[in-house]
């Protein structure tokens, strides 16, 4: 077996190498380095694919067998028959970011938050230094901390990739900050209220940012915090 054949086998199934590939590995230092790198990426890949499973899923499946009726998690919107159309609506929503009219930036930010409720219940990418770098890359210089970052995730948007960030303010409230690379907003700010959520969108950095909170009072405080503690370039 030569190096090319070994690498093809390793990439096709890193955990199961045929005997001739294992023999090649013993003799080739370069391929040992390659294999180590693939194994490292494979571990990262496995961790990335291991998404959290809704609590009580098996019990709901079993209950359905017993009752004949679908049972869904209390917090889950029942998408069921409309699943495909909801997915399309969500995709459509994303496409609307760039051409949003008055109040649409803030409204779409709320809809995005509502679609990702796990952002409030799971910890993800909470490194403050990563947050600072993300803000810097987007065009925001941190003058002081916004609080404890609880969740950060990249979200696809038409002009690239936006960031969905949840942080805990100093008074213990959760607020969401969404960074969207887009054309400049035409107004200084837009506000929206949807489903008990409140949002304000403002131009900043590579496009605009939106702050979302669960009450007008919490929004006002979180918005003020962002305005005081982030200096936006551009």
């Amino acid at each position: 077996m030569n190096c090319l054949e070994f690498r093809r086998d390793k990439l096709a199934d890193p955990r199961r190498l045929p005997p001739e590939a294992l023999a090649h590995l013993d003799d080739c230092a370069a391929c040992r380095g390659f294999a180590a790198e693939v194994d490292e990426n494979e571990a990262r890949l496995a961790a990335a694919l291991d998404v959290p499973v809704p609590e009580g899923l098996a019990e709901r499946i079993i209950l359905r067998r017993k009752t004949g009726t679908p049972i869904f998690a209390k917090a889950s919107p029942r998408l069921g028959m409309l699943a495909a159309s909801v997915v399309l609506t969500f995709a459509f929503g994303i496409l609307q970011w760039q051409d949003a009219g008055s109040q649409d930036y803030a409204r779409l930010a709320i809809e995005h938050v509502m679609h990702e409720p796990e952002s409030f219940t799971s910890a993800r990418s909470t490194d403050p230094e990563l947050f600072r770098r993300v803000m810097h890359t987007f065009g925001g210089e941190m003058q002081a901390s916004l609080g404890k970052v609880r969740y950060m995730k990249l979200c696809p948007v038409p002009e690239g990739t936006g960031w969905h960030i949840v942080f805990e303010t100093e008074d213990g409230k959760l607020a969401t900050l969404i960074l969207i690379p887009a054309k400049r907003m035409k107004t200084d700010s837009e506000q929206a209220q949807v489903g008990g959520w409140n949002a304000v969108a403002r131009p900043g950095g590579q496009g605009f940012y939106a702050v979302i909170a669960d009450s007008p009072d919490a929004l006002a405080k979180a918005d003020e915090l962002v305005r005081q503690r982030v200096r936006w370039r551009g």
């Binding site: 093809r8 990439l11 096709a12 199934d13 890193p14 955990r15 199961r16 790198e37 693939v38 990426n41 494979e42 990262r44 890949l45 496995a46 990335a48 694919l49 291991d50 998404v51 499973v53 809704p54 899923l57 098996a58 709901r60 499946i61 079993i62 359905r64 067998r65 679908p70 869904f72 998690a73 889950s76 919107p77 998408l79 069921g80 699943a83 495909a84 909801v86 997915v87 969500f90 796990e118 990418s125 990563l130 770098r133 993300v134 810097h136 890359t137 987007f138 995730k153 990249l154 696809p156 690239g160 990739t161 960031w163």
Partner: protein
């Protein structure tokens, strides 16, 4: 008696494989609510046909096959449009564009389904190329090619991302 046996088998299967099926469904549709819907429909359909299951040891691939059909039905598709594009031409977002912090999860999401599905089956399910080929109705060689290209594409983007990160 048989009903009781089947009920017990079904419940054990739901507990053993519900989570795996959910993750597989999630990576097919990339929506957690739709994923749970797919898993519930899959098990409901499996229960209706439980008496026809001949080999309990083959229940997981059987459930995966049902889930794939449910997913295809959801999107009213007859089959997947398999592609053999060169990995350099895969439409993955640029790491630089994403601010050098592009996450692996995001990269996997952007892989075409024909690359993503065998990758998920192998990494999460631990299946061999031959088994995946059986599930997807294609050849072992085609699966190997797709897995190789998927990993090459991810590798290239991860390297770009790491380089960009170091340059900040």
């Amino acid at each position: 008696m048989i009903f009781s046996l089947h009920s017990r088998q079904f419940d054990q299967t739901a507990r053993a494989y519900g989570a795996d099926l959910y993750r597989y469904a999630y990576w097919l549709c990339r929506d957690r609510f739709v994923a749970e819907d797919l898993v519930q429909e899959t098990f409901a359909r499996a229960w209706k046909n439980w008496a026809r299951l001949e080999d309990l040891a083959a229940v997981k691939p059987w459930l995966i096959a049902i889930l794939r059909n449910e997913h295809a039905r959801l999107y009213e598709r007859k089959r997947l449009d398999y592609t053999d594009d060169d990995p350099q031409e895969l439409d993955l977002p640029s790491a630089v564009q994403a601010g050098a912090h592009l996450e692996l999860e995001q990269l996997v999401e952007t892989l075409p389904e024909t690359y993503r599905e065998p990758l998920v089956l192998q990494v999460l399910g631990g299946y061999e190329c031959k088994e995946i080929a059986g599930m997807l109705g294609t050849t072992e060689g085609a699966v190997m090619t797709r897995l190789t290209r998927a990993r090459q594409a991810l590798r290239a983007h991860l390297e770009t991302g790491d380089r960009a990160r170091r340059s900040i």
